[in-house]
């Protein structure tokens, strides 16, 4: 839905980020910091990737209906983050992506993290979380056909998303703590995060299966009735 309005800036970002800015950042990290500042570099890359996705996901202008529906689904995901222990945020992002498209899924994932972190505490982890949930939504949008058809694929996606997200966030934990990537610390942090990963994955699957019919039906109805 064309988040960045100026088309020239959008085109610039779409080409400059993957082909110039990220390589430049990596080169700077290798040459200037001698590979010592992984944290600052990875933070920069996460922010750039977020910019790239907001700039380049979709090229046409979709209009206000889909925007309002995306805002509602994002608010629902934020609302769901207040539930203790079991969080339906992934499920809601995935369902949004399946029915409203990859871009809506990306925005729903990344914005729900940004907004709920206003309540839960912003931090240097925010860009990583935004990227993680945004990608979960984006990929679900691209896989919408099999995911819409069968609950099996949907639960499989929930498991992959849960485990993948935790593993990626553990890389970030290690980088923050040690200042560089340490396999031993990574192993420890994966093991210590295991209960959370498990809880997270289980709640993904439960909520995906639970919400699949009701929310899916509602979104499909809105789509058919109003042609969103």
């Amino acid at each position: 839905m064309m988040v960045i309005q100026s088309s020239r800036l959008r085109t610039f970002l779409r080409y400059a980020i993957p082909f110039a800015l990220i390589p430049a950042l990596v080169a700077v990290s290798a040459l200037v910091f001698e590979g010592q500042r992984y944290l600052i570099i990875s933070l920069g890359i996460a922010v750039l990737a977020l910019l790239l996705f907001t700039a380049g996901v979709e090229r046409r202008n979709i209009g206000s209906r889909r925007m309002v529906i995306t805002a509602i689904m994002t608010a629902l995901a934020v609302f769901g983050r207040f539930i203790p222990l079991f969080k339906p945020i992934t499920a809601i992002c995935v369902l949004t992506a399946i029915y409203l498209g990859a871009e809506a899924g990306f925005l729903c994932g990344s914005l729900s993290v940004l907004i709920s972190n206003i309540y839960f505490g912003q931090g240097p982890w925010t860009p990583f979380q935004m990227l993680g949930f945004g990608l979960i939504g984006l990929i679900a949008g691209y896989l919408s056909r099999p995911l819409m058809r069968s609950g099996l694929w949907l639960s499989l996606y929930g498991i992959v998303a849960g485990v993948g997200y935790s593993f990626i966030m553990d890389i970030w934990t290690v980088l923050w703590y040690a200042g560089r990537f340490d396999p031993a610390l990574y192993g420890t942090s994966i093991v210590s995060a295991l209960p959370f990963t498990l809880l997270y994955t289980i709640s993904n699957v439960i909520f995906l299966l639970l919400l699949r019919r009701p929310i899916g039906n509602k979104l499909r109805r809105i789509k058919i009735k109003y042609g969103v």
């Binding site: 839905m1 064309m2 988040v3 960045i4 309005q5 500042r37 944290l39 600052i40 907001t54 209009g63 206000s64 209906r65 925007m67 309002v68 529906i69 995306t70 805002a71 509602i72 994002t74 608010a75 629902l76 934020v78 609302f79 925005l107 914005l111 729900s112 940004l114 907004i115 206003i118 505490g121 912003q122 931090g123 240097p124 923050w176 703590y177 040690a178 200042g179 340490d182 031993a184 610390l185 420890t188 009701p214 929310i215 509602k218 979104l219 809105i222 109003y226 969103v228």
Partner: protein, 289 residues
């Protein structure tokens, strides 16, 4: 105590960027201790962190400090052996330093979360992308609306006798029904909102937004001061070094290092100074009345 919070969000964003950046990336033990001290002081002064928050920070500190020497066995000075694994002084010192860094960042982020209210986040994003700002503001609106409508639907269901908190299954069923109604209602309502937006000419021109923030003289002075102090502190960090492995080798107290640390201390104290200035001014003004 409103001096710092009343600054333009741009100044506050620059400030937190500098303080957090320096605290997280310098790994200079002296500066980190100062950072932690000032961050805790700032959070206590405006009552951001309650007793539970301090307890959580303390636990995080202890865990982070102990974890490193237990896992990392680098370092030349072996203190003792634990399960045939060396426990080195260097790893212990690094662990404590990292723990100070983590805790300081935690406290600064608490302070940031308190200062950056939803409208300030909106203000910052609205400059980059009006559409994203609109999306964020609509989402924030719907979060509040969900809470309000949830209550209304639940009350209506109760009045109909359809909602029972008595046993667990009924409660879950009732909540699920309320949620389902809530989503249908809000989606349908959202379409009306979209129609109404288009009816009023949304998308036909540039969108402007109202924000009650302007760049005052105070902001300019504050931003310049922040930038200057950060520059000195960065120069100080560049000229001093803290090597942990294989042997501790700190070079922090050369002239540049001292200047950088002094600049960083002043930077960390800026919110407190600003708030104290406002408090003093308030007392003077009220004593005149």
């Amino acid at each position: 105590m409103k001096g710092f919070e009343r600054l333009n969000p741009l100044s506050a964003a620059l400030y937190y960027l500098c303080v957090l950046g320096l605290s997280m990336f310098s790994m200079n033990p002296l500066m980190l201790v100062i950072s932690l001290f000032c961050a805790v002081l700032t959070c206590i002064a405006d009552g951001t962190v309650k007793a539970r928050g301090h307890l959580f920070a303390l636990i995080l500190f202890i865990v982070a400090a102990v974890l490193n020497p237990l896992i990392v066995h680098k370092g030349a000075t072996v203190l003792f052996y634990l399960n045939d694994r060396p426990f080195t002084m260097e790893a212990a010192v690094y662990g404590v330093t990292a723990a100070v860094m983590l805790t300081a960042a935690l406290y600064w982020l608490r302070s940031l979360s308190r200062v950056f209210t939803a409208d300030k986040v909106m203000y910052l994003f609205g400059r980059i992308s009006p559409k994203l700002a609109l999306l964020i503001s609509m989402t924030l609106r719907y979060v509040g609306l969900f809470k309000y409508r949830f209550r209304r639907i639940r009350d209506a269901q109760r009045a109909l006798g359809l909602y029972d908190d008595g046993n667990l299954i009924d409660a879950v069923r009732g909540n699920a029904r309320v949620l389902s109604i809530l989503i249908t209602w809000t989606l349908e309502n959202g379409i009306v909102t979209a129609e109404s937006m288009e009816g009023r000419g949304y998308g036909s021109g540039r969108r402007t937004s109202y924000a009650p923030y302007r760049l005052h003289g105070t902001d300019a002075v504050f931003m310049l001061l922040t930038a200057l102090l950060t520059a000195i502190a960065v120069a100080g960090t560049a000229h001093s070094s803290a090597v942990f492995y294989p042997e501790l080798n700190f070079d922090l107290l050369n002239p540049w290092g001292i200047a950088g640390t002094a600049a960083f201390s002043l930077l960390s104290l800026l919110p407190l100074i600003l708030n104290a200035k406002e408090a003093i001014r308030w007392r003077i003004l009220s004593s005149k009345v």
